[in-house]
Each structure stands twice: as structure tokens, then as C-alpha cells.
Subunit: 455 residues, 2 copies
């Protein structure tokens, strides 16, 4: 008999799962149906700022695979359909149109499943202030969000305020600078990029300031000044920042309400609890993956909820492999990430100093400044590498990079070293490449490890 | 009593050793004297093509540390002094001026040592043909070589022929293209970059051709056509290639003659034999480091002689640490290297298919094509990644990358994975970074490993 897999959420985790399952089991063996509240599948949320900024001209470019592509793979998609509730005992999901007319009757339908994947993603954080629903206040996560900002840009706004200084805040700030706006970034933290250490975050702050962004740290937003339904300014304890448009770039939290309401276990991080095979601990036929789950930090083993497309794709694939009948495990995360704001690139992996202290590690930190290319080569920008090592073992626990063009992707070398549990001395001995257009004789990551090992 | 360290060769290995020793032992404890045949110390040989090409305007930029800098560290340098012979029994080195006048008497002086480091580097390979001494034929290794080419460029030459298609050949070809010349590269091998597999070398060949370089493969040079003492053309079995200037970019061999004549052991690779502490096996107070030695491949354990600045610097440092009284070992090489020709970047590490077959490994190869950035991001160039894995264990043995700007430095991630002895599946699970300006959701190196693991 044909088994039936229902997937709630048609983005990174959900569609990676669907694709992987289909590679392993055909439609006669397993039917796949995906319920997606929006009008798109598998689009690059990470590409949103680049569409806003104009690097990408057409939203279609952000869509990796369309519903038609999935249909050709025998993967059915219900677009514009919101999962309202899950009945775990009956193995059904109640679904209704995402945009119900107020005068519509009860259009809820009930879908059955043999196996269920919850891939509901994340919801943007909203500051606890009034005025967020005014005209001129925009989200920064979805295609409709970006479409709205692009249409607002047609009115030639001059000033933008971005709330939040994490990845999304920085990338939206860059996008709006690229569109010619005067940009203020308002954040509650003492420095942007809160997953970095303060000294590295301050380098990011300096780079943002140098590119003309007004960065307001330690200023939690207190309200949006609204006139005639239109946002006019962002208000903090320190001042009022006039804005023709306001962008909410405060990050996200796991979208786990549906799972919680169904009775599934939710972790301390607010993410859905799953094991390394993406199974929920209480229901063998229910899986979850992506931004909505709680996963584990590979170093500490502690639960974390980190919204990154790479993790979501990997987790979806692991779920899909298991549903497809082959063993697969998700091996945990280091939270490796890169981003950029103007010419300032940022990379991070593993534990920050705060992460390490919270987890009880005794650490040493090493800061090394060098150049991206040989010092004498044209456009040899500067970069700073920070390494965190465990005091007793010298094992590398974390790495951070802030620097000029070409610097940040070096973080992958550190991620690999941390993954393989190398000590600073072991990593310093690795035969890393060199040529003048690519690095000084010893790459900054090697010199940082050598310095750490030399203590 | 003050000990005396004599170093033959004042470049990467020699001066790294000197600097490291001085960090650990002061001048009252150990005297350091360096004998250098040329007029410079510690210059970047790898930077020579970029001086020729005009990216670097001044040769001084290539000099990391001058003799005056070393003098300030109590490191004495005899410039223009050639070591003629080593008397191991007497622990002396005979030295004479590098540019002796023909009517000069015997100006040989004898220097004593307690410890000796031989860091004589490499000598350029020369094809076995006539005409190499004609005006218009240039080396590509030293500051005088580059200075001569730059002066020749003042005469507005139109056509250049580069002999050799390895790193130096490619880099010199790029340099001469950048100087506006029409460039032909003549090589005996069937593809450029002989340390790559043929399919990857052919990609390099295609990129060179696309940038207007005439690449002549499988054409060993048979002679230089000389008229009135002036090189006019390079002759092969297939044709005659007119040249206003001819550049010898055929690579190098270990400069081990001095050591061999002294009675030190020379390996099968023609490099001086040393152990992992850089000691010669027969003389406890004699060390060797850099291009002149034989080292070992970390994967196979087999002896190799690879001329790379990174290795030379590391080996010099290891020798210096040991002479300085602390234990240090050189951990072997993967032959990790990067270079570029125009917009084509090239990286390689570990074993090539030929290396692996010669060493008796049963391997599988995986080729993966992707983009450097997210496909929709501007200037997302293509790249190809080739992985070599051991058939039984799936351990990664080698990696090769050929691609557009921003691609080649990914080779360091593979070098780290190989160093840590990760399998393809283990590496595919590593939490590698992603953002649209930096890579697709899954970096090409991860996808290549996933594909290799999925066999």
C-alpha cells in the first residue's frame, strides 16, 4: 500500500526532505504532499537582502525550484494553505486557506498522514512597541516583504532605519545603502553581530560607520512615531531617528507553536525537540527539521536553536534519508556563518567567548591581524582572526573573522579544524596554500593558531 | 662559550631559521652568520611574476626583511658570497665572492661553524637545447631575472614565448599578458599544471586559450632560433614561435650539489636527506631546510621534493626551533598550492590520480561543478572541484579546484580535511558557512564530498 508523507512548510527543510525522500522512494511506494502557507517553494530567504539591494533584479532568480518542478518529481504542493492544527492521535492535519476572506465559511480541510514532517521555519522577532503595523514598516524575511520594500523604493525614500544588528539587519542596511538611502541601524546590544565577541563586533561597527551607516548601539527601540498611519521616525531613549522606511531586522525565533499546541515536546530554546535522526522523541512517525527545531551544539552538546539555511537543508535531508529507508544522522552544528556589509566581511564558527563561558570552558583567546593577500599585492585588505582555544587541551573551540574582501570564507578552514577536534598546534602544522594574490606566506588562520599554540 | 651557527642561503628557509633561533637564543649564547650569493635576503620569489606583470611597482616591496633589519636582530649577513665547499670533518665552509673578477687572486675565505644549516634552495630547470644564453632569454626566479625582463619591456616587445606550464610558467604568462604582449606557452606535457589531473589541467588550458594565450602542449622545445646573439623564436617539432623575449618557466630542482659534494646523503628526489627535525642523518650538527631538501608526503610517507615557499618557511622554522633548544618536528607535506592565470584560479592538495596510482592506492574520483557564489548573485563564476578518495575507506586523499575568482582558496578546507584524515562522509557533514555573496547553500567542496560519499 502507498504510504503518505505530509510536510508542513515548503521551504529549505521541507523541500530538501521531499527531494531526498523522492530520490529513495518512488510515488507508487510513497506519496508526498507539502502544505505551504505562502505562494512560493524553495526560495532563498538568504537572498532577500540582495533583491532589495538590487544585486538580484528578479525575485524568480531566488526560487531554486518551483511547484511545477516539484510536480514533475511527483511531489504535490498545496500553496496558500496554512496548517491550523495537528491531531497526533488521529494522524491528521487541519488546513485552511492562508488568506481567508472574512465572510468565507469554514474552509478547513483535513489531511491524513502516515508520516509527518514539521518544517514550519521561524517567525521574525518584533520589538514590544507600538506602531509596527504602520505603513512604511517592513519585514525582511519573505518575498512579499522584499516586494513591498522594492515598491516603497519607487517613492525615492531618503532615510531608512533598520532595527537589529544581526545578519539580517546588516544585510538590509547594506541593501538600503546600495539603493542610495541614508541608513541608521538601531540595536539594543552594545555592538552589532551578537554572535561575535565584543572586540570583533566593534570592528564591524567601525566598518559600518566608515561606510556612512549611523550605528546606534545600546538603544532598544521604544516606539515608532506614526503620523496619519505612516511611520515617521524610530524612537529610543537617546533620540528620534527620522525614517521614510523602517525595516525589522531583529532576527527570528523557532515557529514551534503548531507543534507545541499539538502536544509535541518543545525545548528550552523554544525549538521542537528532535533526536539526531530528526524524529520527535514521543511520536515515531513525526519528524521536524529546520529553523523550527532545537538542535545541539556539536562542541558542548547543549541544545541550540540557530536559524541558518545550511542547517535547515541538512536537517531536511537527514529526515528525508531516514524516511527514505536509509540511516542518517544530523551531526550537530557549529553555527558557522558568513555575511558582509559593504566591503566588511564577517565569519564565525564554534563558540564565542560568551558561549564558552556559559558552557563552563576555561578558554584562551588569540587575536591576529594580517592581510587578505600578500602585503605588497594590490588590494590587500586587512583582516582580523580571533581564535578561542580550550586552556587545558589547546583544542580550537571557536573562530571569528572580520576583514576586507576575500577574508571571511577562511572560516570554513577553522570550522573543519574544530569539527576534526584539532588543537591549535595541530592546525598550525596543516599544509595550507599560499600565493601572493591569495594570502601572505602564512595565512592569518595559520598564524593565529601558531600564536595560540605558542602560549 | 658562544656557539656559532652558519647558514648557507639567505632566503625563505635560511632566514626563517635565523629569526626563529634568535627568538630563542640571544647573541651572547649563539652567533648567527648567513652566507648569501645574491644581493638580497628574504625576498618573495613568489612575488616575482607580479613585479614583472606590474601589479607590484617596486622590487623593494618584495623584500620582507633587509640585511639591516637582520643586523638589528644580531644576525650577520655576507651578501654576494658563494659557499664553494663544506668540510664536514673540519666543520668549515669555504666562501668566495659570487662575482669574482677574472684577474682576481684566490679570494676564498674559510668560515667555521658549530652548527650548519644548508638552505641553498633550488636551481631553475633548463631545457637541453642551444641558444639559452642568447640576449632575450630570461629566467623567472630571482630579482635580477625580473629586473632584466622589466628593462626588456621598455623596448616594447610584442611577442613572448614562455617555456613551461607549471606555476611559474602560468604566472609569467599572465604577467606578460598584463604587460600587453602576445604570449605563447610551450610545454612538453599534454596539459598545463602537471600536478593536476588531466581533466582539470585541460580546464586551465581552456581558460588560458580564452584569455588569448596560445598554449602549445606536447611540444618539447628543440631549440632557440638566435640571430646575431639575439633570440628570435622558439622551435619545436611542430613549428617555430617568433619571440621578442623568451622566459624560462620550467620549474626547479633541489640545489643539493654543495651538500652532495661534501658527502651528505642525497635522496632519490635529488633533495638533501633530513629527518623530521631537519637534521641530516649522518651529521648531528648539520641541518638542511627548504627547496634543497627531500621531505615526505604526509599521506604516502614517500620522499618528495616540492619547491614551495610555505614548506621552506616551515622547515626553516622547525630547524630554528630545534637549534634554539626546543623540540619541533616537520609533519610532512600535502603539496597544497594555489595560483591563478587571469581570472582562472587553481588549487591543489594531497595526491593527484597519478600520485595515488604510483603509491598503490585504489581510488575513486569525483568531479563536481558549481558556482563560486549563489547562482543568482552577480559575478557568480563557475568552479570545478575534483576529489580523490581511497576506495576501501573513503578517506579523502586529494583535492583539485579550477574556477573563477574566489574559488581556489577553498583548497585549504580540503587540505585541513585530508590532514585530519576525514572520510568523504565525515567531511560532507562539517558545518560549512553559507551566504549568497560567498557560495551556494552547499559549497562545492561539500557537494563533492557528498557525491563521493554517496557512491
Amino acid at each position: 500500500m502507498t504510504e503518505r508523507l505530509l510536510i508542513i512548510g515548503g521551504n529549505a527543510a521541507g523541500m530538501s526532505c521531499a527531494s531526498q525522500v523522492r530520490r529513495l522512494r518512488d510515488a507508487a511506494d510513497l506519496e508526498i504532499e507539502v502544505v505551504e502557507a505562502g505562494q512560493w517553494t524553495s526560495y532563498s530567504s538568504c537572498g532577500i537582502p540582495y533583491w532589495v539591494g538590487g544585486e538580484v533584479e528578479d525575485a524568480d532568480a531566488l526560487i531554486a525550484r518551483s511547484p511545477a518542478d516539484f510536480a514533475a518529481m511527483d511531489i504535490g504542493i498545496l500553496l496558500g494553505s496554512r496548517a491550523e492544527s495537528i491531531d497526533l492521535a488521529a494522524a491528521t492535519v487541519a488546513v485552511s486557506p492562508a488568506d481567508r476572506c472574512s465572510d468565507g465559511g469554514d474552509q478547513t480541510t483535513t489531511l491524513t498522514y502516515d508520516r509527518l514532517l514539521i518544517a514550519t521555519g521561524s517567525v521574525p522577532l518584533r520589538p514590544p512597541v507600538d506602531g509596527l503595523d504602520a505603513v512604511g514598516v517592513f519585514g525582511a524575511q519573505t518575498i512579499p516583504d522584499a516586494d513591498a520594500i522594492r515598491r516603497a523604493l519607487d517613492n525615492k525614500p531618503r532615510r531608512a532605519v533598520v532595527l537589529g544588528g544581526g545578519y539580517i539587519g546588516l544585510e538590509m542596511a547594506e541593501a538600503l545603502v546600495n539603493q542610495g538611502l541614508s541608513v541608521t541601524v538601531v540595536l539594543a546590544d552594545p555592538f552589532p553581530m551578537g554572535s561575535l565577541d565584543e572586540d570583533m563586533g566593534e570592528r564591524v561597527c567601525a566598518a559600518m560607520t566608515a561606510m556612512g551607516i549611523d550605528v546606534r548601539t545600546c538603544e532598544p527601540v521604544r516606539g515608532i512615531d506614526v503620523e496619519a498611519g505612516l511611520a515617521r521616525a524610530v524612537v529610543t531613549d537617546e533620540g528620534s531617528y527620522p525614517a521614510d522606511l523602517v525595516v525589522l531586522g531583529l532576527g527570528v525565533r523557532p515557529n514551534s507553536d503548531l507543534a507545541r499546541d499539538a502536544g509535541l515536546r518543545i525545548g528550552t530554546t523554544k525549538g521542537i525537540e528532535v533526536d539526531d535522526t530528526m524524529h520527535t522523541p514521543t511520536h515515531e512517525n513525526v519528524y521536524a527539521a529546520g529553523d523550527c527545531i532545537q538542535t545541539r551544539n556539536r562542541i558542548t552538546g547543549h541544545p541550540v536553536a540557530i536559524a541558518l539555511g545550511t542547517h535547515a537543508n541538512r536537517q531536511g535531508r537527514v529526515a528525508g534519508t531516514n524516511i527514505g529507508g536509509r540511516p542518517a544522522r544530523f551531526e550537530g552544528v557549529l553555527g558557522t556563518a558568513v555575511t558582509k556589509v559593504g566591503n566588511c566581511e564577517i565569519g564565525r564558527t564554534g563558540l564565542s567567548t560568551m558561549d564558552a563561558e556559559l558552557a563552563g570552558y576555561s578558554i584562551e583567546t588569540t587575536l591576529l591581524e594580517s592581510t587578505v593577500k600578500a602585503g605588497y599585492y594590490p588590494e590587500a585588505g586587512k583582516l582580523a582572526v580571533k581564535l578561542l582555544t580550550e586552556r587545558q587541551t589547546q583544542r580550537i573551540l571557536g573562530g571569528q573573522i572580520v576583514g576586507g574582501p576575500g577574508s571571511a570564507k577562511r572560516i570554513d578552514v577553522l570550522a573543519t579544524a574544530i569539527w576534526a577536534q584539532l588543537t591549535a598546534a595541530e592546525f598550525a602544522a596543516v599544509d595550507i596554500s599560499y600565493a601572493p594574490p591569495f594570502s601572505p606566506v602564512f595565512d592569518a588562520v595559520v598564524l593565529a593558531a601558531r600564536k595560540a599554540a605558542g602560549r
